[in-house]
């Protein structure tokens, strides 16, 4: 297809765990990303959601080749970039930018805003200094900052304004793809709304493609066209946002949606809550087969802990999930939670 911008196949990133007295030998690996595949079309937003430790940030860094993936293919505009050297990557860097979570930590505090935003232009040798300045000022205006603030330092700005600077920096060289790693999670709600609106406006204006990584399901729903849910380095469900949020198929997605507090007390009281017990297991030694099985309310012994479920289509058009017993109804009814283990309890709120 012509408008496929990025195709990812079987992406893995394992961090070695070594031991040894003099010679370090690898005894194990942290399976941070363990087989992720997806396609993203030009102009769309793919939301990636999951709890801390699910590998979403590591995946983002692999996609931009900020770290080397262990395995898998990353095809950008029809070209496999997973094996490219740093040098070969350089021209491609103009196409892909990243916006980080902590707007303060990701900006050089000793540099003026003008320099920070213009740096990418300079690195890629774009434009003369005078043109650069004009470009930076127009960018600052685009992201809703005062162009006069060109000569200020990052500490003179509030958190939301710093995130705007981060976005202006990412936009400077007209990228196609922007990977946003938790761009609003450090911000207050009112400021968060400003940034989300800004990202949406910019997408319309410049035809940007976003990969939007966040732990906040509300935010992901708001901004994404399609959403991928990750658990322990693997995607468990991938669907359009409406389908994912109104008819989730994977029990983990169901648990996540059920756990998000709704800012509507009347609705909240009606809701059946499935509280997942326990913590996310250690990615060094993840559970066998379906790695969600020890916490799953629909666990079937002898199946889920033996056979690994593959991502497969469950509901017509491109709604995929990796589960042997996908949810049939949403919201989940207590009857639907077939396996009633003592550790898992349906709690009505």
């Amino acid at each position: 297809m012509a408008d496929e911008l990025l195709v990812v196949e079987g992406l893995k990133k394992h961090f070695p765990v070594t031991r040894g007295i003099i010679f370090q030998r690898q005894i194990d690996a942290v399976r941070a990303v363990d087989g992720v595949s997806f396609t993203i079309n030009e102009g769309e937003t793919l939301g990636v959601v999951g709890e801390s430790g699910c590998g979403k940030s590591t995946m983002a860094r692999c996609l931009l080749k900020l770290i080397e993936p262990t395995e898998g293919k990353i095809v950008f505009r029809g070209r496999d970039i997973s094996k490219l050297s740093r040098r070969e990557m350089r021209p491609l860097r103009r196409e892909m930018m990243m916006v980080f979570q902590d707007p303060y930590a990701s900006l050089n505090v000793r540099k003026r805003v003008g320099f920070i935003v213009a740096e990418a232009l300079e690195v890629h040798g774009i434009a003369t200094p005078a043109e650069r300045k004009r470009r930076v000022q127009s960018l600052l205006e685009v992201v809703g900052l005062n162009p006069e603030h060109y000569n200020r330092f990052p500490h003179e700005f509030s958190g939301g304004q710093r995130q705007r600077i981060g976005i202006a920096r990412a936009l400077a060289i007209n990228p196609t793809l922007i990977v946003c790693d938790e761009p609003v999670s450090a911000l207050d709600v009112s400021v968060q709304a400003q940034i989300l609106n800004l990202l949406k406006d910019l997408q319309k204006e410049f035809g940007l493609t976003y990969i939007f990584i966040a732990h906040d399901l509300n935010v992901v729903r708001h901004i994404s066209d399609r959403v991928m849910v990750m658990y322990l380095g693997k995607p468990v469900e991938l669907a359009s946002r409406t389908e994912l949020y109104t008819a989730p198929k994977h029990p983990y997605t169901g648990a996540l949606l059920g756990a998000v507090p709704i800012p509507d007390p009347a609705l909240g009281r009606l809701r059946q809550r499935v509280v997942l017990e326990g913590d996310v297991p250690n990615p060094i030694n993840p559970p066998a087969a379906c790695n969600f099985h020890p916490r799953c309310p629909r666990f079937h012994e002898g199946h889920c802990d033996v056979e690994t479920p593959e991502l497969r289509n469950v509901a017509g058009h491109a709604h995929t999930t990796a589960c042997h017993y996908p949810l049939e109804k949403w919201p989940m009814t207590p009857q639907e939670i077939r396996y009633d283990r003592s550790r898992t309890a349906a709690v009505g709120s």
């Binding site: 709600v189 009112s190 756990a259 800012p263 809550r273």
Partner: protein, 343 residues
Amino acid sequence: MTALLEVRDLRTQFQTEDGFVKAVDGVDFTVESGKTIGIVGESGCGKSVTCLTIMGLNERRNTTSSGEVLFNGEEILGASGSRLRSLRGKEIAMIFQDPMTSLNPVHTVGRQLVETVLLHNDISKAEARARAREALKEVGIPRAEQRVDDYPHQFSGGMRQRAMIAMAMINDPKLLIADEPTTALDVTTQAQILSLMQKLQEDHGTAIVMITHDLGVVAETAHEVVVMYAAKVVERGTVDAIFTAPQHPYTWGLLGSLPRLDAEIDRLAQIPGQPPSLLNPPRGCRFHPRCAYVMDVCREKVPELMGVSHDAAHEQACFLDEETKTREAARLFAATMAAGTSG
């Protein structure tokens, strides 16, 4: 019956190099036994400082507080150090935002629980240890007998927050102040912690002050809500009143800027600008520079908290007339309300 906690006209200011910061500027609320009150607002609105002031935990050197804090009818603002210490951890307990840093890394979890018991009870160390084990069991730590001797770093984030809750509840306090207890946690862990707190509240009849920026958490846990903006209370009422008939434009802004799980909204209603500096807050209503409904009076006069005509328990501090408010609220929330009722 008198309220468990009554806060009247509480003011706290810090002396900084740049001048006085009025972090809390005339806050009133009451907490009834066994109920949960949610205090919401964005960072820097004074919600945490309010609670630290109640506990007497502000730095003494550069802080001055005034007003009244009545706990069971007893004035505890400015009470002696020893009186406050006998209340803290015994009658009033507190849990904090970051469970990763709120436990002392060099002591075992058990030792920290035992310390809390021994500070307020004249019992033997062995009895205190037995209580510590019981407390860990009650908050759902698996294999509590062994894990009592673990160090905090051996616990996951959710477990540490459970341990913090165990430590807070171990002396069966009447009031639990929870300062953003789930903000640092993942959503499934947050759900665990919130149900645990709810269960403990039912079992022990503890009153909870829940400080949070998350309106969802407030909606699910609180009976009453206090909305704070720039060190002042702008609105307060029952949870249903605040969420179904909000009266203050700031509350509208907060609700409107929230992406919703239960509704698809194309564009969020954002509040323009930034929260003001408390060093030099705006004259008149502190929200007026960001308010879409600003009138001349808002720039001059400070609005007082006033009852809403049809609901005496619902108070708000805005000069707009009720008719406009009802109309605007209905217009602003048409989308989410419709989605809410249909979903």
